[in-house]
Amino acid sequence: MRYRRCWLGDESKPGAVRGSSWTTALACLSHIQKEEEEEEEATVPRAALYEEVRKLVDDGAQLVEVLPEGEYAKLHLPGARNIPLKRLDAETTADLDIARPVVVYCHDAL
């Protein structure tokens, strides 16, 4: 089984994910393609609460804030990088280490 990045927004690209919702964007990051079966499957990111997030971050997880730049500039979690939701794609996530967990966050649950 091989894994590869997916693309949000540009449906002409391989592994494109249709839609632009928050959930779809998160699914984009964890999109899995079973190439040998030519069957695509997107796993839904696992919801995490504070205690788990704290442990993930302490263990080296990468934090990604998907709010607009202005919101990020005012306040963000320590060490978080900013990838606004509308720009979340293979290119903007290229700097992330795929071997380490990624914790994505918005402003709140709503």
Binding site: R4, L67, I98, R100, P101, Y105
Partner: protein, 149 residues
């Protein structure tokens, strides 16, 4: 090209982190928040405690009320002066005012000052998103307070 295998959604988001008074980065990271102004000098008690036992602790505190907390420091209720001065054998669980209003640690001091002034209140209770008591903020410690006589 490889994809991400472990992606987590911090569901309560940035609001939850800020409400816990945790460290942040950014242009406004240095701004003061009410969490820093919260005092831990309020009298607390457990559900089963008698008013006669709680009253001396309240009298030794700067406030006219006590707060009822669970073992985990989760705020359960408030005991006002009337019940503290009443039957000394009544227990906190019988006479407390359950679920008092609280504010979060990341509330801006000037915003809280306005809210207190609108409601003619002298104090606000601060709690974490999990409901744990952080402390009490006094109006006198917030911006725009009358200078001490």
């Amino acid at each position: 090209m490889l994809g991400f295998e472990q992606v987590f959604d911090y569901l309560p988001g940035k609001a939850d982190w800020l409400a816990r008074g945790l460290p942040t980065e950014g242009d406004r990271a240095g701004e003061r928040r009410v969490g820093e102004l919260a005092r831990q000098d309020v009298a607390t008690c457990h559900l089963s405690e008698r008013m006669g036992d709680v009253r001396p602790r309240v009298e030794a505190s700067p406030y006219g009320f006590a707060l009822v907390v669970a073992d985990s420091d989760v705020l359960l209720g408030r005991l006002r002066r009337e019940v503290l001065d009443g039957d000394p054998d009544r227990r906190a669980e019988e006479v407390m005012e359950p679920g008092p209003s609280t504010v979060r640690m990341d509330t801006a001091p000037d915003s809280l000052a306005e809210r207190l002034d609108r409601s003619n209140l002298k104090t606000a209770l601060v709690s974490t998103p999990d409901g744990a008591l952080v402390g009490v903020v006094r109006r006198a410690d917030l911006p725009g307070a009358d200078p001490a006589p």
